[in-house]
Amino acid sequence: MARTVIPFGPQHPVLPEPVHLDLVVEDEKVIEARPSIGFVHRGLEKLAETKDFIEFVYVAERICGICSFIHGQTYCQAIETIMNIAVPPRAVYLRTVWGELSRLHSHLLWLGLMADGMGFENLFMHTWRVREKILAIIEATTGGRVIFGSCKVGGVRRDIDAAAITRILGELNEIEKDMRGLTKILLDDNSVKARLCGVGVLTRAQAHDLGCVGPMMRASGIAQDMRQLGYAAFNEIKVEPITRTEGDSYARCAVRCGELFQSLDIIRQAFAKIPDGPVEVKVTGNPTGETITRTEQPRGEVVYHLKATGTKFLQRFRVRTPTFANLPAMLQVLPGCDLADVPMIILTIDPCISCTER
């Protein structure tokens, strides 16, 4: 049978990210997918050699526009590990809250994009309407809508006062009601299910061998969440990974829907337990040493490998972002699927190519 090569991306109506695939198709079936990335490589790892390690948190935050806060947090945690800085407990709790707010807005963004990808524009608009409420909370507490800029080495820049906490908790109740309605549609609606169930199945063994992370891995039945490592306030707030066993696109959607409510729960617990006190400590000196720090981003585990030699510039700043680890799995599930399902499968790994290339 004749084979055709169809170029897919880097510009494609359903793709917000510049990934290019050459799809080898036979009739409607995809036989092979050859990826090429590198359209948005910015050389941020190289930049660490010329930027002061204190300033570099701004760069680290801008690796990704969506999981920005957790990038900044992971960078700060890594530097704090190297320099043995004890961050005040209140700052640790605030980081946890902002991290979970960023997870909420990232997951809502993705759920909207997925609805948009399958042509469900109305659901897309409503998901983003709810996301806008989260962004309003973020802007009021940090000053930025997606680039928080509130994390620094040694603590956080801003505090949330008691009145604001009460107000946010009230708003979260509203948001939860909205999200219950939306997830009911996302998980139970016939047309959504028909589009997602059984599409892009990744088995548990494949997910493990291909080194998947985050919701991609949990949707295939591996219960692993880096928040279980107990970084930030997660040694006091316990997190049970949300898993599904089907491993298809529907399972990945369901895991993310479940994580929305888990994040809300974590924010409530954190606000209930948040101790009083300062939110930052003074940082002096330059780092010497090496660390590998892992945290859980909305898209999965992020790995920061930092090496410092006692100057104010880092010797090596290496980031392995979650999408980088999930790309092999994407290439694994594409062969054998229908051409029309390709956008959905690519979307369900929640690709962030700017993250991947840094």
């Binding site: 802007e139 009911k184 609606d189």
Partner: protein, 109 residues
């Protein structure tokens, strides 16, 4: 299995006020504490150059001799680091997001 859930939501929103606003015609209400735009107050500036040294994107240049404070708005990422390090508090953050830089022209104060 859910039937007509989306219809219910759509009908509800067909009858309520839209969540969006007519943005350029109806200005956005500024959010307190938002990092909108960097504001320079000339009066107490001592041209110490700390802001320019700390700026992560090199958007600021301070010329002490000519007493000039220069900003490239397109490079500025409104991170607020300069506001934090300014010893004389002559820099502040405005909550307005109204003006958007489109050229590399340098604003000289």
């Amino acid at each position: 299995m859910a039937y007509f859930e989306m219809t219910k939501l759509a009908l509800k929103w067909a009858m309520t006020k839209p969540a969006t606003s007519q943005y350029p015609f109806v200005p956005r209400q500024p959010v307190a504490g938002s990092r909108g735009r960097l504001v320079f107050t000339k009066d107490n500036c001592i041209y110490c150059n700390v802001c320019a040294k700390k700026c992560p994107t090199d958007a600021l240049v301070v010329n002490r001799k000519e007493k000039k404070w220069i900003i490239d708005q397109l490079r500025c990422i409104t991170c607020g680091y300069c506001v934090e390090v300014c010893p004389k508090k002559s820099l502040s953050m405005d909550t307005g997001h109204d003006r958007v830089a489109v050229t590399r022209d340098h604003e000289i104060h």
